[in-house]
């Protein structure tokens, strides 16, 4: 079940999460190996996003949501401990949301928003260099290099999602969580993002929630399959895609159930 047990970067143990009194995750245990792409699959409402949001503690921004049991370790550190510094955790474990959002400022300032907060202001030259390299990494540089100071709100949604990834990368995270990053995007932008994910895994660990089985097959190394808030299947891409033991997972993967 767990490919690289204790040496893995992110270790989830017996996690229970509830919204109000309704349990969403029940005894979820999983581990996510370093510098690989793990796809989290499952029907809607199975707790995929919830699991993702526990890992950088953005879940607690939802008032009713509570972690009721279990532990999450990132690099051996118990991140659910009350003494955990949430902001530095969120810097280390970045998140990219389903709906890309431009902050009401220029493209340049959008990229610099989180980084500036964590590392302070830089010399203009240094800042420009960092912005340029980030935008190049997400493949946006050529499209926006002449309008870095114009408002980010005029970008297309595909460009915006890449901007959001650049914004997260600017924090220099070890892990990036992606919550259906392509569900609002057209096929072409989706392809760009998928290529980008393949490039990024050389330096960061990626967890991606998706409902798109073909996408999971294309980009993931590991797959975690959730059903009704519990782990139904976990393993490498080939193991889960080729020989899932759970019959409902097999039906889901073959497209008979969605």
């Amino acid at each position: 079940m767990t490919p690289t047990a204790n040496t893995s970067w992110i270790q989830v143990e017996s996690l229970d999460v509830a919204y109000g009194n309704a349990p969403v995750l029940h005894q979820v245990s999983a581990s996510f190996p370093e510098r690989q792409v793990t796809a989290i699959l499952g029907p809607s409402g199975c707790g995929k996003s919830t699991l993702l949001r526990v890992i950088n503690r953005t879940l607690e921004l939802t008032p009713e949501a509570r972690v009721t049991g279990g532990q999450v370790h990132v690099k051996g550190r118990n991140i659910l401990h009350p003494s955990e510094d949430i902001r530095s955790l969120r810097k280390q474990v970045g998140i990219v949301q389903q709906r890309p959002l431009a902050f009401p400022m220029s493209i340049q300032e959008n990229v610099d928003f989180g980084r500036r907060h964590h590392h302070g202001r830089l010399q203009r030259k240094e800042r420009d260099r960092i912005t340029a390299s980030l935008l190049e990494r997400v493949g946006l540089w050529d499209e926006v290099k002449h309008r870095l100071d114009s408002s980010a709100t005029r970008l297309s949604i595909g460009q915006l999602q890449r901007l959001c990834i650049a914004r997260t990368l600017a924090n220099d995270p070890d892990v990036i969580l992606m919550d259906e990053p392509c569900s609002a995007l057209d096929p072409e932008s989706t392809a760009t993002i998928e290529t980008l994910i393949q490039e990024l895994k050389a330096t960061v660990t990626i967890l991606i929630v998706t409902h798109n089985i073909a996408q999971a097959r294309r980009i993931s190394d590991q797959i975690l399959f959730l059903l009704d808030g519990t782990v139904a299947e976990a393993g490498t891409n080939a193991e889960v895609m080729g020989a899932a033991r759970n019959p409902r997972v097999r039906r889901f993967l073959s497209g008979e159930e969605g």
């Binding site: 003494s83 510094d85 949430i86 902001r87 530095s88």
Partner: protein, 278 residues
């Protein structure tokens, strides 16, 4: 945990202070009126006529309560058909989206017009121009106008909400339009319209400015007649204070107004909750 910055802490403190002031103000005002007015507020105060000299120093406020109620009833005769009908027209029959948005903007602007201007209009149009004199009829018409925009806006929204939910399902069954309106739209929108009505009435009962020179007098005997002036609760309070007649009675009258409206608005809130549940 990283320590929060002192400025952030100060800001948070200020915001909490603002929130506490926001909750304390109504408690203070209502509490103040309760403490000073509750002693005077007896059953006989509600059902007796003003007595003493000048009238109002003793006795009760029954004619003011009846006058206010009569004004509202006359107003509703105008406001309900025009408001609900106008809302229905805008939501269902309006030929163009453009006209709809202009009409909506105009009605919203009308809702924002200060009530004293309604009073002035009523004085010029009903009292003087149409020769109604200062009367229940003139004042009721003015209050009808005050309630109209609120009622129109809420009923349009009510109809639109129902239509969004049920139109396709109903019309696809092959029913005609009048069946749709009478069997689906009106019954389904009823609760929301009722809530809007309560809101409008609550607003109109308390406003003195529109009736001050169209319907009300400080004191009068005799029953309610359409062509005669009436006493009303808010203007009674105004006269008691501005002529320094009786502060005891003013406290009790203010309390009647505030408690009455609180009950009224509470009913509106309960209606809205019921709406959300169903």
């Amino acid at each position: 945990m990283t320590r929060p910055r002192p400025l952030d802490v100060l800001f948070r403190g200020l915001i909490w202070a603002a929130g506490i002031v926001g909750m304390a103000l109504p408690v203070w005002i209502v509490g103040f009126l309760l403490v000073r007015g509750a002693g005077r507020l007896t059953w006989s105060f509600l059902v007796d006529h003003p007595r003493g000299y000048p009238p109002g120093t003793e006795g009760g406020i029954l004619p003011a309560i009846l006058g206010s109620a009569a004004l509202i009833l006359v107003g509703l005769v105008i406001a309900i058909p025009l408001g609900v009908g106008g809302g229905l027209y805008l939501a269902e029959f309006c030929p163009s989206k453009r006209l709809q948005s202009y009409a909506r903007a105009a009605v919203e602007a009308l809702a924002g017009v200060p009530s004293i201007l309604y009073g002035l209009f009523g004085f010029a149009c009903f009292v003087v121009f149409l020769r109604m004199g200062i009367s229940l009829l003139a004042g009721g018409l003015v209050l009808g106008l005050v309630m109209l925009p609120i009622l129109l806006i809420t009923s349009q929204e009510a109809f639109a909400a129902v239509a969004a939910q049920y139109r396709e399902a109903t019309l696809s069954l092959g029913t005609d339009r009048s069946a749709w309106i009478f069997w689906v739209l009106l019954p389904k929108a009823r609760v929301r319209i009722l809530a809007g009505l309560v809101l409008a009435v609550g607003h109109a009962v308390g406003s003195a400015a529109p009736v001050l020179f169209t319907a009300s007098v400080y004191f009068r005997r005799g029953g309610l007649h359409l062509d005669q002036p009436v006493m009303t609760l808010p203007t009674h309070l105004y006269f008691l204070v501005s002529e320094a007649i009786s502060f005891d009675h003013a406290f009790a009258t203010a309390l009647v107004l505030v408690l009455g409206l609180a009950i009224f608005n509470g009913a509106a809130m309960a209606l809205r909750h019921q709406m959300r549940d169903s």
